[in-house]
């Protein structure tokens, strides 16, 4: 099997597994006895390491169960603590389902008004459109640092600056970006006033080679979202519940590994990606590479394959042992027409004719060469009739 769905989840890295298993301690970090203190020390070290990787302060790092929880805590928490008289949420098109559905829930249950921001054809959030939506001012805004389907990278610093200027608190979803894009919470936040500009940033462990169930939300010390979980008051009262020390250590280790390897790994993946794109252009010129040609995640190749249903392509490739994705799938496992692709201006039919190939640490040039050949073969089979 050749696994090319690293954006869905990437294998647990050996170094992370070792660190994770090594941190299975006796003791609750909230206990005051010696065992608790030892556990607490390991936990806070992990928090400091995560803070260092994301360039935030340790107190700002809230460990969560992953991306979905982080996004929900940020959006619902900021909504609940919003400034009086504000009722709009700035929501660019093409956000991840965790964001879409959380905002949808706030709209349905809480009366939040959604201010959509149309994307550029490249999948980027246009700064002018984003600024316009912030105006008013909105109760909060959210944006992807890098898009999970197209792989397009936004200019987080500019988006954060616009939010700061408008006086609107901003959440950045860095789940897909983490590892590949350097995350700099302090720089992006800059000198924004309290409750404005970048105030929260989500990351998830299992996209980086840490276990599923690990993640963090950076919450600025200058923001006070309401918690979703109430209980023992852990983590600034923002996320009650006994803290997962081993998970925190695993996340810290995965982030550090990604930081250390980023430049080399990005260059390696970008090289493989460029060869795949060139080969496809030569052998199947109808296939369109979606996303931004220059600012994209190096491991992500998002394709529109005119005339071939993604479900069928995926099936044929799966039979040959290649694991790729058609985009997001609903709970039953149905491939849906990608809302992200539709946000780029494609029709629902076209949005079914897509595949997302996402490479990772284990991906090799040889694998991608055989994959490209298999893809071209499957595509011509489905379109030659």
């Amino acid at each position: 099997m050749i696994y090319l769905d690293h954006a869905a989840t990437t294998p647990l890295r050996a170094e992370v597994r070792d660190a994770w298993l090594g941190a299975q301690l006796v003791g609750n970090a909230s206990s005051v006895h010696g065992a608790g203190q030892s556990a607490r020390r390991v936990l806070e070290e992990a928090r400091e390491r995560v803070a260092a990787s994301l360039n935030s302060q340790p107190i700002e790092v809230v460990f969560t169960s992953g991306g979905t929880e982080s996004v929900n805590l940020a959006l619902k928490g900021l909504w609940s603590a919003r400034a009086e008289g504000r009722d709009a949420i700035v929501l660019p098109d093409g956000e991840h389902h965790a964001t879409l559905d959380a905002v949808g829930w706030l709209a349905a249950r809480e009366g939040a008004r959604v201010r959509a921001v149309a994307l550029e054809r490249s999948g980027r959030i246009p700064l002018a459109g984003f600024r316009e939506a912030l105006d008013g001012p909105a109760a909060l805004a959210t944006a992807l640092v890098a898009a999970n389907e197209t792989g397009t990278i936004n200019d987080a610093a500019l988006l954060a600056g616009a939010a700061a200027e408008a006086g609107v608190p901003l959440h950045l979803d860095a789940v897909a970006a983490a590892g590949h894009v350097p995350l700099d919470f302090a720089a992006w936040r800059g000198t924004a006033p309290a409750q404005a500009g970048l105030v929260a940033l989500s990351v998830s462990g299992h996209k980086l080679g840490a276990p599923v169930g690990t993640g963090a939300l950076v919450v600025s010390r200058h923001a006070a979202p309401d918690p979703l979980l109430h209980g023992g008051g852990q983590q600034r009262g923002l996320r009650a519940g006994t803290q997962d020390i081993a998970g925190a250590v695993a996340l810290a280790t995965a982030l550090e590994l990604a930081d250390a390897e980023r430049d080399g790994e990005n260059a390696r993946l970008e090289g493989i990606r460029a060869r795949v794109v060139a080969e496809l252009a030569e052998r199947a010129p109808e296939i369109v590479v979606l996303g931004d040609p220059s600012r994209h995640l190096p491991g992500t190749i998002h394709l529109h394959l005119p005339g071939a249903v993604g479900e069928s392509l995926m099936f044929l490739l799966d039979q040959r042992g290649f694991s790729v994705s058609t985009g997001s799938a609903c709970q039953a496992g149905v491939a849906e027409p990608s809302h992200v692709v539709m946000a780029l201006g494609y029709s629902a039919d076209e949005a079914r004719q897509v595949l997302r190939i996402s490479m990772g640490a284990t991906t090799t040039q040889a694998e991608m060469s055989s994959f490209t050949a298999a893809l071209v073969e499957a595509y011509s089979r489905l379109t030659s009739r």
Binding site: V309, E311, A332, V334, A335, R381
Partner: protein
């Protein structure tokens, strides 16, 4: 051969897939998502498109060790089955959506994709048999009479039948299938059968139509054209229906009244005595042959007009591009839109969608 097993999440398709695996075929399971907004949990015995049903199918595939996919046919299903269902009712006819699904989705859209992907056959849990006849493949009734589903497969043509595989067709009873599912450890062994229209999970067809089409009060007429009552929307009625007329006063002869005709344009419902339901001839321009076309343009047959109706002796004639069926004795409760399936013995010869009926009883003055 390479077999694509359509798995609804029910016990029949589960056992059919298992038998296909056991027979040595290379089997892949597929569950069709037919609704975009499918429910999460199954309610009672109804529905077949919930997440729970997809999960049931997946767990059976896991047990069988076969690959399993969920494919989205919801748009095709909406266009070809649900919209057709509504527009047929709007036209005053009574459609059979399960047949439309077999004709347009399972053995058309799904079959096309299966062939495109290199499969030789589609396997389903239908109770019907395929027999190699002198003139090619023939579709026959199942050995299990009570469960026989050859009627809903009557719309299949020779090209489609060539890619069908019904492993349950020769099973003498449903109990055997359930016992087999139990023995194989399938969680669906005791799952209730589904009877209703899958996209109307609460079984309230009338409420569903009211919501989709809007209801407008109209007149109920007797056969002589006198207004004898009002209704809340003609679309919700079916020819032959007796209940729910709510006319409030009895007929002069004191006998129950039945729906004889629906006039969608005028929003009128015509009612009359049971005898007036009798139909001496049915016909349709939309017909097909389940396998080889009959050699004669007129032949003796049996006709069945509903999935659970008894077949009755008749003569079928092909004339002027129409399949005309004349039952030996008049038929009751025939609505246009229904499918008349023509049998010779146990063999399904063909079918037509009934678009015209001839009353056996002239209108009393």
């Amino acid at each position: 051969m390479r077999v694509l097993a359509a798995m609804s999440g029910g016990v029949d398709s589960a056992v059919a897939a298992a038998r296909a695996v056991e027979a040595g075929h290379e089997v892949v399971g597929v569950h069709l998502a037919l609704s975009r907004a499918g429910g999460t949990l199954r309610t009672g015995s109804r529905g077949c498109c919930t997440v729970e049903d997809a999960m049931d199918a997946r767990r059976v595939a896991d047990k069988l060790g076969i690959p399993f996919y969920v494919w989205d046919f919801s748009e095709r299903f909406r266009d070809d089955v649900i919209d057709d269902f509504i527009s047929e009712y709007q036209a005053g006819r009574t459609p059979n959506p399960c047949m439309r699904c077999n004709e347009k989705i399972k053995f058309a859209a799904l079959l096309e994709r299966a062939i495109e992907l290199g499969f030789d056959a589609i396997c389903t849990g239908h109770y019907a048999t395929l027999v190699d006849g002198e003139q090619g493949l023939e579709l026959h009734r199942s050995s299990e009479e009570a469960k026989d589903q050859s009627y809903v497969l009557g719309v299949l043509n020779a090209a489609q039948l060539a890619h069908c595989y019904f492993p349950l067709g020769t099973t003498p009873s449903k109990q055997i299938v359930r016992a087999e599912a139990e023995a194989r450890g399938f969680s669906v062994a005791k799952k209730p059968d589904s009877y209703d229209i899958c996209f109307i999970p609460d079984g309230d067809t009338r409420g569903y139509l009211a919501e989709k089409m809007g209801m407008e009060q109209g007149e109920i007429l007797d056969r002589s054209g006198d207004v004898i009552g009002t209704h809340e929307g003609a679309h919700a009625f079916t020819v032959g229906q007796r209940k729910g007329l709510n006319i409030g006063h009895p007929a002069p002869d004191g006998k129950p009244r039945f729906v004889l005709e629906i006039r969608p344009v005028q929003n009128q419902v015509v009612v009359g005595p049971k005898e007036a339901l009798a139909v001496s001839q049915i016909s349709g321009s939309r017909y097909s042959w389940a396998g080889a076309a009959p050699l004669e343009t007129e032949f003796v047959c049996e006709v069945q007009i509903r999935a659970h109706a008894d077949p009755v002796p008749a003569t079928a004639t092909l004339e002027g591009g129409r399949l005309v069926i004349t039952p030996d004795a008049p038929l009751d409760g025939v609505a246009t839109g229904q499918t008349a399936v023509v049998y010779v013995g146990t063999r399904v010869v063909g079918q037509c969608t009934i678009d015209t009926t001839v009353s056996a009883v002239p209108v009393a003055a």
